[in-house]
């Protein structure tokens, strides 16, 4: 019985939150990696682009609520996803046409494009703050919990409760669906194959008649879908605040590089690596150890490896370690 209790503790405080956070990071990391692989630059506007899509979801959720549309026990924000994605893609294409296209045609070095994306970051941040302001916003409605701790205790008779928030479930399910469709698209359809060809070897892809304009367009569309959904899921689970989204860019970058930048599978995996490392290293294991150790060995301290203040620092340290020992990432990404 103690063992089951211990497992439930771990599940409740580490594994489920880590899976949720990992899914959110994974979506962002695939977004970064796609842009890096096909458009060939590190997009410093990543966090703000996710924030831009989410902003429309927030505004539309408020609008839907005001005219009385709801989605039953699911959050209204899920209904707004198509509209938010549409606005996001529109914005990305406008930015691409007005800013990035010029440098792409000129074949500027990647650093130049990265600097340009810093400019885009500033502008996007300004637009977001002017439209919605910098404050913290919650837009979750509908059922909050799928499984409450008390219900679980009654059901099973265990002393530890298991809580599953609806946002956690939604995040994991939606991520699986989106990522599955995306990988199917990249591997099985003709357009997806041409995108991968373009990413591997641009000249050869152009020689075999692949239309670069189409590849770029499709890339931005997929990027828009990933960015918006990733942003909305994060916002539902925590809350929507432009500054936090900007900061999330850093663990997302870490996830993309750890997995091997340019490789979508690596990015997907990297998101979970970062999330699990952050949560497992900062979790206080006292409660877990109390169940599995005999009474004489029970720990007095919290048994925490690092304080939760260092959450971000952990993901960055992992990145630094990976960069030193395996610069191309865990899965072989592009050569640096």
């Amino acid at each position: 019985m103690d063992l089951i209790n211990a497992v439930i503790v771990l599940l409740n405080y580490t594994i489920i939150p880590a899976l949720t956070y990992g899914s959110q990071l994974a979506l962002g990391a695939i977004f970064v990696t796609l842009i890096y692989g096909i458009l060939r630059f590190a997009n410093f506007a990543t966090g703000d682009m996710m924030s831009f899509g989410t902003m429309f979801a927030v505004l539309l959720t408020y609008y839907f609520q005001s005219i009385g549309i709801s989605f039953g026990f699911l959050p209204t924000a899920l209904l707004t996803i198509p509209f938010a994605i549409f606005m996001m893609i529109l914005y990305m294409l406008i930015i691409d046409q007005t800013v990035f296209k010029y440098y792409r045609i000129k074949k500027s070095p990647p650093v130049m494009l990265a600097m340009v994306s810093v400019g885009v970051m500033f502008v996007t941040q300004a637009i977001i703050r002017i439209i919605i302001g910098p404050t913290d916003r919650r837009f979750l409605d509908g059922e909050k919990f799928i499984l409450k701790a008390t219900e679980f205790k009654e059901m099973t008779g265990l002393s530890e409760g298991l809580t599953i928030k609806s946002t956690q479930m939604i995040t994991i399910v939606v991520t699986i669906i989106v990522v599955a469709i995306m990988f199917w698209f990249l591997n099985k359809t003709k357009t997806g194959t041409s995108m991968r060809a373009y990413s591997d070897n641009e000249e050869l892809a152009l020689l075999s008649g692949i239309d670069p304009k189409k590849v770029v367009l499709i890339t931005w569309i997929i990027a828009g879908i990933l960015a918006t959904i990733g942003g909305i899921l994060y916002g539902l689970d925590k809350s929507y605040r432009p500054f936090v989204y900007f900061n999330n860019m850093l663990p997302i970058f870490a996830a993309a590089i750890v997995g091997g930048i340019g490789n979508p599978y690596g990015a997907f995996f990297g998101g979970y690596v970062i999330a699990f490392a952050e949560i497992f290293l900062t979790y206080a294991y006292k409660r877990f150890l109390v169940y599995i150790l005999p009474e004489s060995l029970e720990p007095n301290s919290l048994m925490q490896l690092l304080s939760t203040d260092y959450k971000f620092a952990i993901s960055f340290s992992i990145l630094v370690i990976v960069l030193i020992f395996r610069p191309s990432g865990i899965f072989e990404g592009k050569r640096i």
Partner: protein
């Protein structure tokens, strides 16, 4: 002379703008902007050495700035004897353990051949060391932080003059740059950008959360100043006399003696803050000029030529027998040290150290915009970039407010759009800086004052 004409014109316009702020807003604001422009200029000089001379992209400017600020605290604050007596020995032991770890790792790296055994040994040393540190430092940190937590709760500094900390700030930053350089300099440019940014984040989060070091997010206030205090000036006779002489015409207009005294008091208070800021401005100007002379000399020396050669064609320079890796590391350290000095200057100017305020937006990306806008590879351009962008960053809100009022003048005061726009005026600075960067990169990628190669 013709060569320098555009530089002189650009600088004159900049000075004119600051003087206009002085006339229309107040001289105190103008001097604050001027001082911050100067600090930004030192930062851009540092970043320009790395990016303009050598083509190294360093997005970790935030980390070096924060370390410079930390140096001010560690050098100038008086030590806290109680904290030292409860936890000093343990902390010094920990420092010893860290040094021991570094040296033993170096020894293993040198004397044992590359193998799994070596990796396990190093991993073992690090893990054992970390556990030891955790055991020894844990209780000590708790005790140190318990010493009068509202006021101290940290080890304090050395109690030395604050100007000394500017050099120490540079040294701290150089030390960090050495480690970062060793780890990350082999990476491709955009990876280097990300890696440096993340390492800077790690540094800032350590400064933020290690309260025993510099009080973390509880901030250190009331730092020493290399300039006189306003309150002392307001009571010293020579200063009051000076103000009286300066404003004699204005004072003569006063009708009665009490009114004259009131006017004089107000003038003295205003003048004291201006005087303090002038002192800072003088000191910063000296630093900027010294750095400018050194960097100019370096740029046109054989060493500067070599750096440009390495930047423009690494393979060729390497084939000519130049040690590219070593030079990159050297210039990375040099540039970072200058940024560290700027960080120390900024904290000295503010008189307080707030680790929570070090954010990548303000201390990395804005500085980079300065470098790009001003002119990469040209020191005069870098300084100008610092001035222009900081000026825009500060004055964007008033400018935006002016235009919002202009364009919405026909709308009633309670119009929702107008109110919303006026409330979001501060965010127009992001828009202004972002669009400025995009325009410069598109139409004048070499910056306002481009790099100039003197042919000899």
């Amino acid at each position: 002379m013709r060569n320098y004409l555009n530089i002189i014109i650009a600088y004159s316009i900049m000075m004119l703008l600051i003087i206009l702020v002085g006339i229309f807003q107040s001289w105190s604001i103008a001097l604050t902007i001027f001082n911050y422009c100067m600090i930004s200029a030192v930062m851009t000089l540092g970043a320009n050495i790395q990016w303009g001379y050598a083509g190294l992209i360093n997005f970790g400017i935030m980390g070096y700035t924060a370390l410079g600020g930390l140096a001010v605290v560690l050098v100038s604050v008086a030590p806290v004897p109680e904290a030292w007596s409860v936890g000093g020995v343990n902390m010094i032991t920990c420092l010893g353990i860290i040094i021991l770890m570094i040296f033993s790792t170096r020894y293993i790296l040198k004397n044992i051949q590359k193998s799994n055994k070596r990796n396990y040994l190093i991993a073992g040393i690090i893990i054992v060391g970390l556990i030891l540190i955790k055991i020894i430092a844990g209780p000590a940190i708790e005790q140190i932080e318990a010493v009068d937590p509202a006021k101290t709760g940290f080890l304090g500094g050395l109690g030395l003059p604050v100007l000394f900390s500017w050099i120490v700030g540079g040294l701290f930053a150089a030390g960090l740059a050495f480690i970062v350089g060793k780890v990350a300099l082999g990476l491709r440019a955009d990876y280097l950008a990300i890696a440096t940014l993340l390492i800077a984040e790690i540094v800032v989060s350590i400064i933020k959360h290690e309260d025993w070091l510099a009080r973390g997010v509880k901030n250190v206030i009331g730092l020493k100043r290399p300039a006189p205090y306003e309150i002392d000036l307001q009571t010293s006779p020579w200063f009051i006399n000076l103000v009286e002489k300066f404003h004699s015409a204005k004072l003569d207009l006063a009708n009665s003696l009490t009114e004259r005294q009131d006017v004089l008091n107000q003038l003295v208070i205003d003048a004291s803050s201006v005087y303090v800021k002038l002192c800072f401005a003088g000191m910063f100007l000296v630093v900027v000029i010294i750095l400018l002379i050194i960097t100019q000399k370096a740029l046109y020396s054989p060493w500067g030529r070599m750096m440009r050669a390495i930047r423009d064609n690494e393979e060729a320079a390497s084939a000519m027998g130049k040690n590219v890796v070593k030079q990159h590391l050297f210039i990375f350290i040099l540039g970072s040290a200058i940024v560290g000095i700027a960080g120390a200057m900024m904290v000295t100017n503010d008189g307080l150290f707030t680790p929570g305020s070090y954010r990548p937006m303000r201390y990395t990306f804005v500085i980079w915009v300065m470098v790009i806008v001003g002119g990469t590879g040209n020191n005069f351009g870098a300084i100008l970039g610092g001035f222009v962008v900081w000026f825009l960053w500060v004055e964007a809100a008033p400018i935006a407010l002016f235009f919002i009022n202009l364009f919405t003048a026909h709308l009633p005061e309670t119009n929702e759009i107008k109110v919303h726009l006026i409330n979001s005026a501060p965010y127009f600075r992001f828009l202004l800086v972002g669009i400025g960067l995009l325009l410069i990169m598109r139409f004048r990628p070499q910056g306002i004052i481009p790099e100039k190669i003197i042919k000899q």
